[in-house]
Structures are given as structure tokens and as C-alpha cells.
Symmetry: C2
Subunit: 381 residues, 2 copies
């Protein structure tokens, strides 16, 4: 079933081939605030569907309205085009760091399961309105509290009605990525973009939208796949699964992109440190703190691209940079660089993975630590 | 000017007399999910104004509309009454814990600068609509991005327009607290309740509402009072103040109410631990983890009152309880109880105050630690 996979950029870091999971390579991350499509991280759950643009149909139906079917052409021509720049992050990003604490299940991602694009398409709420669902109030009155998405790969997920219908939610049915048609790996011809929510809710190869009373059935929504259990849960019971809410909005996050772990740097020379920060729910980044001494002292990074997004709708990551002094005391020394971000609601990252470890390895947003070596050059006698 | 202060409940823990700052005592917190008004924490910035109900006028005006004035009677009779159960927390709650790291400015609160009430009144957006401001879009078109509140004590603050005008924001002009007229200390006859935002935005003794282009002028909004600087800032420059956003939404928080710090407990007997958790922005609490071994292992608390609030509108705290085993190995031992909460966006509390320390001592939401002693009873020989 994987014979028709698209060709992929050779620089992508493969985590798994079938289905494809591949990271955006560290050295490209801060080159472009808008990630080029070929370098975008890939997280597929099944073989990539090949949908025909001509015969493509999107079925929109459910509680509270009659429903309607749309061709790709109708989506493009019957609605005004909206552009949203949104970062998407896999719930398992940074899972690998959990494994040093205790083994988790799933792919051991580094920190490249995140990318940013300018998406073009039609607002979900406009399509729902056109199909007959007037408002959140109307939906709730008809008993619809969730909007389900089904992809042609068989994945079915849902988001809460308030996010779907909100004027400020910016949920998009996208047919463009960075100004071009969406590539096969990223959901051609139409995918959902749910700004501020975890990757899996951003359904690719979208074929059906349904307004329903309950969350979507199946492992991706009600099952264990995207449930963040407590650190005490090492074996899951049915009751644990049923009582644990699935991931929607993601927590505040930041990463050091440069220098890389293990880098050898020059003592006495200010070190250029750079990275990105991001928070779910449209909560912009208000500060990034950087430490070169393992957290004993901090300095504030300069926020660059993405720093001026609108309040409550900061859907894209924020880049940052700092010049960090590295002491020159004549000896070779090991240092740990750390970054941590604060978002608009003053939520912060936890100091360690110890308290947030969870069986599925989701939502790791501990302070990012990068060990480096300040090496004194020695004359060869 | 403090000669006419109201009489206060003798159990309140006084932090400062003029102006009055007083905590809700620990031993009453979990008695009632709705805090009785006499035990509510008090945080005043000036002497308590005594407004006359008959001559009371609320002026509503600003960019984009003509404006209007309301009597108390008009607010009560011309609008439908809305009830909102909302917790209010002072930005400086738990400031005292920062001082063990490094001295901060302001009152050294314990953890009782938080309380919960059922507020009755009229929705701010209904009053703004009635006064001529139709919607957020209309406000923005007229250049109004902030709604200012002025109290008769002279405090002027503001909230962003999207919170003020949102169908889901539930911002209330309250004239009732737990079913009775609002007491003097809590803003009689009318106060603002901004659910999910820091205490200071919940203006008491409200006399004026203005739609404006900029944040409110003055120390409570643009000045240093409620700005969370970085841990590196030990002396504030004008630039620091101007570039640091002021507090609006508060981060995820949880506290152990029982047992108290230093409690002597019986080894070998399960210990009843209870407390509350709360997060800003209407993000409900999805889990509270409790540790009796300083964070090495965790168990999940049972969420009780407040656990079933609506998504995105969980404006009140959630109570929790856990039965924690205390080992009986025949010796007297010191333990540290810890609690930490996770909110609906999977934001968590930081492990320590080290990384979140800030000059004004705001937004302390580190894991709450309570030292206890497990004491073996010895026979008197």
C-alpha cells in the first residue's frame, strides 16, 4: 500500500518510512519563518491518498442542517479566499527527550516535528454557514457540540464547536500552502488547518465534515493516541482512556536551534543563540529567557519574526535570538544552554520532563537544554 | 482618609491595613466552593469609596459611539440579569514564596489572595451595545481596541476589546455577590468581573467605561504595577516598562490547602490532602497530580467541585482531594507534599520559582510544596 508514496526532500530526517514520519532538519528551521513545503515535517498515519481534483467531493452534513456537497472548484470560486499563517506541531514533538526519563510509546521525535506555512483557503465557518449551519448557538440548539473531520486515509478526528464557529478561530479548509496547491504529503487537494491546536486535528485529504453531539469515534480522538495521561500511569486502563481529555490546544514551547547539541564554541566570544517559540490557542509569545549556566542566571532574547501577531490570534511561531557571553578563564568547560518562553497568559514551560512524563510521550514542553563545550585552543608545542 | 473603612471579618489575615490587603484564611478555603463574602480576600489600592446608590451614575462613552449614562436602577431594570461564577486571584498571590529566592516589591502574600463567588449583574457587552457600540468589528473600525474602567478610588485599567465584546467572554458589571448586594470592600454598588483575568482588571466602585485606542494610562495598566519582568531584571528602566505587556489572563495554578505546612501526621495512615486549582482564560483544570516524596512519584487527585465547567468558560476554581500513603518504617521522617495542575491547553506549572522570579513578584505558579512531619508516637518509659 506504500508503493505510491510521493518523493521527499533528501534533507528530511526520517523517523519512520511506513507510514512516513520525518522531521524538519534543525539547520533549516530558522532560515525561513515560512517553512518551504519540501522541508515541512511529515506525519502520516497511513499510505498517502491520491485524490483526483476533478472528482473530488467534500461532504458537509450533520445535526442541525441539511448539508451539501462541494467540488474543489466550488470551494475556490463560491467563497472568498482567506490566508492564515499557522504553525503546526505534532503532539509527539520532543518525545525522544522523555525516553531518557522512562520509555514512552511512539516515534522518538527530536524537535523538528513542527513547521510554519501561509495557508490559503476558505474559512470552515463560511462553509458550514453555506451548508446551512448558521451559528454556534444554532449548532448547540440542534445538539451539535463537535465538528468531525474525516480524511481519505481513514483518520477521523474532531474539534469543539466553539473553535469551529468562532469569528476569531480562523479554522481553514486550505487548498494552498505557501501560495501553491497543497502537496500530496500535506493533504492535497484540501486539508484542515486548526490554528493553535495539535497537529492531528489538522486533517489532511479532507473528504467529510460532520456536526455531531459527541467527539469523533476512533483511536485518534477517543482512543489513547493523543491522550496525555498523568506521570503515574504506566499501563492504561479503559477507565483512564475514557476519563482523559484528548489534546486540542498545545502548551507554550520554545527550542534552541543554534548552536546544536555538542557544539564546540570559543570561550571569551559572545555566542549567537537562536530558536523559536510557540504557544497554542493563539496566545502570542511575550518573552524568551536564555541561560548559559544551566538556569542560574537568565537573559532576555530579542523576539524577531512573529513577534507582532494580533492578540489572541498569534497562530505562528516567533523567532528569537540572543548573544550569550561565554566566559574565558583559560580552561575548557562544559556549559548547558537553556531556553524557556512565556506566553500571553503568563503560562511558562516546566523546568524538567520529570513531572510531565506521560506514557504516550505527548506535549513535552520542558525547558530546552543544549550541552555545548567551550574549548580553549592549545598551541601544538 | 481611612477613617471610614468597613468593618472586616476578624478571621481575615491582614497583610496591610492602609490600604487594606487581607487573605482568605487557609482553613476556610475548601469549606465552601463559593467563598462567603465576609471571608473574601481584600485587595484595595486606596481608601474604600462610599457611593450613594441613589445618585450613582455609570458613564459609558468613547470612540465609535455617542455614549450614555446609567443609574443603578436602570442597570438592574433595563437589562436582563446574568449570573457568572468566577474566581478572582490577585496577581501577587504567593508573592511571599518568591522572597526566599530574592526580594520582590509589594505585599508578601501567602496563597489566600484568591476567592470564588457567584456574581449577578449585566453583561458589559449588552451595556456597550445599548450605549451604541454594536460589535468588536464596529469598535475596531472606530479605532477602539481597549475598554477602560475607572473606579471611584481613582484606579483606571483596561481590557482588550475582544474580551469585552465576546459572546463567550462573560465580562460582567456586577451588582450582586452571592445573591446579595456587593459589600463595600468588594466594590459597592457596581464592580467589573473579568473572568479569567488577573484581579486588578476587575474594577471595584465602577463609575466610568470608555472605549479607547490605547491601554489605560497610569501605573495599574501601563506602569510597573502589574508587569511581569524577566528574571534578569532587578532594576527597571523606562524601556523595560514600555516593552513589557501588562498582566491580563493568569496562568495555571494549584495549591494544597490541607494539611498545613509543618503539620505532624501519623506514619502508616493514609493522609487526606485537599486543595484547589485554577487557570485563566476559561481553561478548565483537566488533572491535578500530587506527590508525597518531593516529586519522585505522583498520584492523580480526584477533581470534585468545579470539575464540570463548560469548555473555554471554566471561570471558577476546581477543588480536588487525594488520599496519600505515608510510609510507616518506625522512624520519624520529614516529607514534602507537592501539587501541580494541568489545564485544558496542557499548560502546566513550573517545577520551581527560580525561573519565574520577577521583580514585582507576580504570577507565581510554581509547584506548591508543603513540608510535613510523619512522627512516630513513642511510649514514655
Amino acid at each position: 500500500p506504500y508503493a505510491n508514496e510521493p518523493t521527499r526532500h533528501p534533507a528530511l530526517i526520517s523517523i519512520s518510512d511506513v507510514p512516513c514520519s520525518a522531521e524538519l532538519p534543525r539547520e533549516f528551521i530558522t532560515d525561513d519563518w515560512i517553512t518551504p513545503a519540501p522541508l515541512w515535517f511529515v506525519r502520516n498515519h497511513h499510505p498517502v491518498p491520491h485524490l483526483n481534483e476533478e472528482s473530488y467531493r467534500l461532504k458537509v452534513h450533520g445535526k442541525g442542517f441539511d448539508g451539501k456537497e462541494y467540488t474543489l472548484d466550488q470551494l475556490k470560486k463560491d467563497f472568498s479566499k482567506t490566508e492564515v499563517t499557522a504553525t503546526i506541531q505534532c503532539g509527539g514533538n520532543r518525545r525522544g527527550e522523555f525516553n531518557s526519563e522512562r520509555k514512552t510509546s511512539g516515534n522518538a521525535w527530536g524537535f523538528g516535528a513542527i513547521s510554519n506555512a501561509k495557508w490559503g483557503g476558505v474559512l470552515l465557518k463560511d462553509v458550514l454557514n453555506d451548508a446551512g449551519l448558521a451559528s454556534q448557538k444554532a449548532a448547540s440548539a440542534a445538539g451539535a457540540e463537535h465538528i468531525h473531520f474525516e480524511g481519505d486515509d481513514g483518520c477521523r478526528v474532531s474539534i469543539p464547536i466553539d473553535k469551529a464557529m468562532s469569528e476569531m478561530g480562523d479554522v481553514l479548509l486550505a487548498y494552498e500552502m505557501n501560495g501553491d496547491p497543497i502537496p500530496l504529503d500535506h493533504g492535497a487537494p484540501v486539508r484542515v488547518v486548526v490554528p493553535g491546536h495539535v497537529g492531528v486535528r489538522n486533517t489532511k485529504w479532507l473528504t467529510e465534515i460532520e456536526a455531531a453531539t459527541e467527539d469523533a469515534p476512533g483511536v485518534w480522538q477517543r482512543g489513547i493516541a493523543y491522550k496525555v495521561f498523568g506521570p503515574n500511569v504506566t499501563k492504561v486502563t479503559e477507565e483512564d482512556v475514557a476519563s482523559t481529555p484528548t489534546m486540542q490546544e498545545v502548551p507554550v514551547q520554545s527550542l534552541i536551534v543554534e548552536p546544536r547539541a555538542g557544539a564546540v564554541v570559543e570561550p571569551g566570544t559572545p555566542l549567537d543563540v537562536r530558536g523559536f517559540a510557540y504557544s497554542g490557542g493563539g496566545r502570542g509569545i511575550i518573552r524568551v529567557d536564555v541561560s548559559a549556566d544551566g538556569g542560574a542566571t537568565w537573559q532576555q532574547a530579542k523576539l524577531t519574526e512573529g513577534a507582532d501577531q494580533p492578540r489572541g490570534r498569534a497562530w505562528a511561531w516567533t523567532f528569537w535570538e540572543a548573544e550569550v557571553p561565554i566566559p574565558a578563564d583559560g580552561s575548557t568547560a562544559h556549559h548547558t544552554l537553556i531556553c524557556k518562553a512565556t506566553d500571553a497568559s503568563h503560562n511558562v514551560q516546566p523546568d524538567t520532563v520529570a513531572g510531565i512524563w506521560n506514557l504516550r510521550g505527548l506535549a513535552n514542553n520542558a525547558w530546552h537544554r543544549v550541552p555545548i563545550v567551550a574549548e580553549v585552543e592549545r598551541d601544538v608545542a
